[in-house]
């Protein structure tokens, strides 16, 4: 497949936003049950939610550039019973609404609302937000995992990796954010960020090794229904390009693919972890910010590779111009 920049930005940016929100809510829950000392000011949550919302909004904005008719995007909520894409279109704004309310609740101090019998409204909104956050990871992953003949994607690992990558990058951002406004929480976030980054390494390694061993189920024989072992296309039927030759081929060499793979494997896992450790031990916030930025850049490469690696069976029909 040819990776589309809009979709790469959408999936990586909303992942960061989701991870950052989950990080904030985790801190509140842990604080509430007394496992850690929470932030000194509720503004930590409010500002954090503003950051998360910014990432989600830019991601959502990027997705519009993928559409041929963006003015009709509202129609995409119609088929939520069947289409994972439609479900994502519903869950993403709902999640953004929750993040907004969660931040607003902290900003306005909705911790003991009389209409909720003194319950902490932010905890309830946050719980709803966390459910939507998980659903959004599920929808985003299933958009790709549900396409059974794109064998590289058709695995639960696709959903798991979206969850792990989003959480890891969001936690990296939370670490850098805490280093500036709440140094007391840096260690907490850093441990979680490192944990999710290592889990993502496991998940991605599993999918990489799985994909390396994949055998395509379709062949030229099944594509045209001729059983002879030797079939060569002598014409794809037209001399120029078409949608089919542009959309489904990334057009890069295998050497380029290999180097992108090693680039993201380095930039997403060991380098951010080293920067994280350096920032934590040396107490340098700039290193923590660098850890997030390097990991995010790595995730852009990872997502490019994710799309490019998928080999569409339609490519069997478009092999030779003449």
């Amino acid at each position: 497949m040819r990776p589309a920049l809009s979709v790469i930005l959408l999936t990586t940016l909303i992942g960061v936003g989701q991870g950052l929100f989950a990080a904030l809510y985790t801190v509140q829950v842990f604080d509430r049950i007394g496992l850690i000392q929470g932030p000194t000011s509720p503004m930590f949550y409010a500002l954090g939610c503003a950051f998360a919302l910014a990432f989600l909004a830019v991601g959502l904005g990027a997705s519009f550039f993928h559409l041929g008719r963006p003015e009709r995007a509202w129609r995409a909520v119609a088929m939520w019973r069947k289409s994972w894409l439609s479900r994502e279109v519903i869950v993403l704004p709902a999640f953004m609404g929750c993040v907004f309310l969660y931040g607003l609740g902290h900003y306005l101090g909705w911790t003991q609302l009389p209409i909720l019998a003194g319950l902490d409204a932010t905890l309830i909104i946050g719980a709803v937000g966390t459910v939507l956050c998980a659903l959004l990871f599920l929808c985003t992953g299933m958009i790709y995992a549900c396409l059974k003949f794109l064998q590289e994607w058709h695995t639960p690992l696709t959903v798991i990796n979206y969850l792990l990558f989003g959480s890891a990058s969001g936690l990296m951002l939370a670490t850098a954010y805490a280093a500036i406004v709440e140094p007391g929480l840096v260690r907490f976030f850093a441990v979680w960020a490192a944990g999710f980054t290592l889990a993502a390494l496991l998940g991605r390694s599993a999918s990489l090794s799985r994909n390396a061993r994949l055998k395509p189920r379709s062949s030229l024989q099944t594509a045209i229904g001729v059983k002879h072992p030797r079939i060569v296309q002598s014409s794809q039927g037209f001399m120029g390009g078409s949608f089919n030759t542009r959309e489904f081929f990334h057009g890069m060499s295998s050497a380029w693919m290999r180097s992108v793979k090693w680039m993201f494997l380095l930039a997403v896992f060991p380098i951010p972890l080293a920067l994280l450790a350096g920032g934590l031990l040396g107490g340098v916030p700039a290193l923590l910010a660098a850890a997030f930025l390097v990991q995010y850049a790595g995730l852009l490469a990872e997502r490019w590779f994710f799309f490019a690696q998928a080999n569409h069976p339609q490519n069997l029909y478009y092999q030779r111009i003449s």
């Binding site: 497949m1 993928h66 559409l67 041929g68 008719r69 963006p70 009709r72 995007a73 129609r75 995409a76 909520v77 119609a78 088929m79 069947k82 289409s83 994972w84 894409l85 439609s86 279109v89 958009i143 549900c146 396409l147 059974k148 003949f149 794109l150 189920r217 379709s218 030229l220 099944t222 594509a223 045209i224 229904g225 001729v226 002879h228 030797r230 079939i231 060569v232 296309q233 002598s234 014409s235 794809q236 039927g237 037209f238 001399m239 120029g240 390009g241 078409s242 949608f243 089919n244 959309e247 489904f248 569409h312 069976p313 339609q314 490519n315 029909y317 478009y318």
Partner: protein, 243 residues
């Protein structure tokens, strides 16, 4: 339930592309708007087509066969492109099984093209919506056309009658009979999409030999070559019958 479909005979197709050009001609002139056709005579021509004819070489020289392979939307009975559409623009008609795109609802997200293993959906670069073969739904029910012309444009154009059009759920239709009698098959059966369009394989040419080819009808003794020689003056067959 009706399932309209094409049956394409690879034994007969000569790869002339008449179905491609007639398809484009008909569908670019329709109410839905023109089909893109950029730089048709330039350096890098590109455009939207609902139908393509591809060519494959099967076997190793000198035992090779050239297979011309027309490919358009197969109107799958379980179309993978339909459930993924977020807007419902991509749908399969209950009444005749044609898979269509509602151009007024399509948002051009291309997800359905990703979900089609056959690569038969093409986005129109000017209308920015997904387009595909409609089985000429604007022809086949048109009462103003003579009944014999209520067929897809590609079927009308085919000079060798390699394309049959009909209801494959009706066992009496010519399309169904062609599938049954000539080993009609579906493309990429491994994905369970159950395409409605079928292809007829290459098969050995059979010469139909009728009885009268072997034995003269005016051979009363049933022995060829042993007819009694007529006398020179006796009347010949031409003299006694009027044919």
């Amino acid at each position: 339930m009706t399932q309209l479909a094409l049956v394409i005979d690879l034994n007969v197709c000569v790869g002339c592309h008449a179905c491609v050009t007639s398809c484009k001609g008909w569908n670019t002139s329709g109410a839905a708007g023109f089909l893109s056709d950029d730089n048709p005579y330039g350096k890098d021509p590109t455009g939207t087509f609902f139908n393509r004819v591809q060519t494959f070489e099967v076997g190793e020289y000198p035992n090779t066969q050239t297979v011309h392979f027309p490919k358009s939307c197969l109107h799958c009975e379980d179309p993978p492109c339909v459930p993924v559409c977020p807007t419902g623009a991509s749908y399969k008609r209950e009444e005749d099984g044609i898979v269509l795109v509602d151009y007024d609802k399509c948002i051009g997200c291309k997800y359905c093209a990703w979900a089609c293993p056959y690569g038969v959906r093409e986005i129109d670069e000017h209308r920015h919506v997904m387009t595909k073969c409609t089985l000429c739904v604007d022809r086949i029910y048109d009462q103003s056309l003579p009944a014999a012309e209520r067929k897809p444009a590609c079927v009308m154009a085919c000079p060798t009658s390699a394309r049959l059009f009909g209801d494959i759920h009706d066992p009496e239709s010519a399309a169904s009979k062609a599938i049954q009698e000539n080993g009609g098959y579906q493309l990429m059966p491994e994905w369970g999409t159950s395409p409605a369009n079928h292809y007829l394989p290459r098969r050995k040419q059979e010469i139909k030999v009728r009885e009268e080819d072997l034995e003269r009808v005016d051979n009363p003794l049933k022995v060829d070559g042993r007819l009694p020689e007529p006398a020179l003056k006796s009347p010949s067959l031409d003299d006694v019958t009027s044919w």
